[in-house]
Amino acid sequence: MDMFQNILITIATAATPLLIAALGELVVERSGVLNLGVEGMMVMGAVTGFAVALSTGNPWLGMLAGTIVGALFSQLFAFLVLTIATNQVATGLSLTLLGLGLSGMIGESFVGQPGIKLPNIDIPVLSDLPLVGKLLFGQDPIFYMALALVFAVWWFLFRTRAGLTLRALGDNHDSAHALGIKVLRIRYLAVAFGGACAGLAGAHLTLVYTTQWIENMTAGRGWIALALVVFASWRPARVLAGAYLFGAVSIGQLHAQALGFGIPSQLLSSLPYLATIAVLVIISQNRRLTLINTPASLGRPFVPDR
């Protein structure tokens, strides 16, 4: 039974970075911006988180650094697509390419070094409960933070005036501009939030999930986070479900590899990617529903007349 709980915990650990990165991107896309640079921001967060934690000895500082670097890195993208109205798809791609390159260079001296793990929270007594004690009361702090973030993002988007404004400009930035809403300023903030989330998710990879730095270690997780947003129809609670589903697939295939079964490990490794495709196909088939859910100004550049 302990093994069962351990599997659930590893699923949660695998799901957490996807969840955080996807929540960030959800807010960005709700504001009408498509940032395909999640992978790049994530990998930047991963390498700086690792480097700062190692050189200061403090994993919390690493987490903070990863988050800040993710946010700063996203502002490169924001400047291009918001201030000078470049193509969002191409610019997001270039952010990913640049992030992968830069992180490789920064992390060169850290390859192979043992890292520092963010300590788990351990609530005495409760975490010793059978079956679910460790799962509910003995995980890393980012796990709880991610769950809180689901609620926070939902509350912000659907219960606050600022969230309403953000959704409004994702729906129609021209109307928002006509009412005097600062379209670009809000989008800058949304992109920064998305970057911070991606950076935090990356830092989670190097400070909780694996505690080492390997080049390109995000391995497509940023892209999967992007797919999760589509899967979730831009709703926070569904991102939670999707992230755990993907966590389960990737942990499931790892366990299957360990057990053998005679299935080629490469086939098992490709399961998360194939699952992403399958999920996208299933969710997008209903064009009508997709059209209703997608923020109407997603990906469209906005240049106010002056």
Partner: protein
């Protein structure tokens, strides 16, 4: 200070030509700053990166070897991106083209005659086109986002190749190293001037493809269709063009060219199938396509330039100890600057001082 954009009534022809050069200049400046930050002499760094590889004949040969696949892939991507279909899985199509074409020399090593090579090239194109057909089908039939599906298929292709060369296609005499048998001469793209260097006819194929696709895009009705659908799907419908057909056409054309690049690399440069056959050509070609302003002839120039960064990276590493990974940083910065400078074609950029914003009542 604030930046404001004012839309031009007509695209600026001057900036269409000048923007890639401005982008290059900005990249060089930023690159010099990176070198300085790394404690290296910036002038020397730039010299090794961009000049040194051009000073020797063998390295000019190397340049064409690297540029060939970049140009081939980028030419296909030009058609894709012009038609607003975002194929970013060329790396996967490159691999699958190489895999399907390599089946011939690996599975039928005895089949060696004048047909072997042409057949392999055709199989390469077929493999790439079919693999690119998957995201096309998923987009056309199921409305699934082609950016994500084509990218996911890159990982799948890489794992598939890994499985092949470690498993059923591994050379039994290869001392347990992953990799297929070495291709026989009849299955190898010949070198152009073997006595001088490694340049092979794959580069000629790339130039040919660029010229043909350039002519096709600029002068034929189908090329017109590509541009119309890319600029406005609604106008495309008005013209009686099919967006769905264009999804398949553009994806499979670019897949075919990526597959051709794949087999040309494996057969011309490597000589066998290995677990890694591309240093990220499929992604770098995205930069090539944009730097070439989505024009196939521009892609030739841009392909040579990006190939130069690969060689320059090696030269700078050997001479100055600069990390090879700086290459990808350079490439990423270049794309950023290219996209930024392209804004000048459509917009006039104005700097507005704080004075105007601060009107008081």
């Amino acid at each position: 200070m604030r930046i404001e954009l004012v839309k031009r009534s007509q695209q600026s022809a001057w900036w269409q030509l000048a923007s890639p050069f401005l982008a290059l200049l900005l990249t060089l400046i930023a690159g010099a700053m990176v070198f300085a930050a790394l404690g290296k002499n910036p002038a020397l760094g730039l010299y090794y990166f961009f000049i040194d590889p051009l000073t020797e004949v063998w390295s000019l040969h190397e340049l064409t070897v690297k540029a060939g696949p970049l140009i081939l892939i980028a030419v296909g991507l030009c058609v894709c991106y012009r038609s607003n279909n975002w194929n970013i899985g060329a790396e996967g199509q490159f691999i699958m083209g190489a895999v399907l074409a390599s089946a011939l020399p690996i599975l039928a090593p005895g089949f060696q005659n004048f047909l072997t090579l042409p057949l392999m090239l055709l199989l390469g194109m077929l493999g790439g086109a079919l693999y690119a057909g998957i995201p096309a089908l998923l987009k056309a039939r199921f409305n699934a986002n082609e950016i994500l599906t084509s990218l996911m298929l890159v990982y799948v292709a890489q794992l598939f190749l890994d499985w092949l060369v470690r498993g059923i296609w591994r050379d039994p005499k290869g001392f347990a190293f992953p990799g297929s048998i070495r291709f026989p001469p009849a299955a190898t793209i010949p070198e152009i001037i073997p006595s001088q260097g490694s340049a092979h006819y794959g580069f000629v194929l790339a130039l040919l493809a660029a010229v043909i696709v350039w002519f096709f895009l600029g002068r034929t009705l189908k090329g017109f269709e590509v541009r119309v659908i890319g600029l406005s799907p609604r106008a495309g419908r008005f013209a009686g063009f099919s967006s769905t057909g264009m999804v398949f056409f553009s994806f499979m054309l670019s897949g075919a060219l990526a597959g051709l690049a794949g087999i040309s690399e494996v057969s011309g440069a490597i000589g066998q199938l290995r677990e890694v056959i591309s240093p990220g050509y499929g992604f770098t070609a995205i930069i090539v396509a944009f730097l070439g302003r989505l024009n196939p002839l521009g892609a030739i120039v841009a392909g040579l330039l990006l190939a130069l960064t690969y060689l320059g990276g090696e030269a700078a590493q050997q001479s100055l100890g600069i990390s090879l990974r700086a290459v990808r940083v350079f490439q990423g910065m270049l794309l950023f600057f290219v996209l930024a400078c392209d804004t000048l074609i459509i917009y006039k950029v104005r700097l507005v001082g704080a004075a105007r914003a601060g009107v008081t009542s």
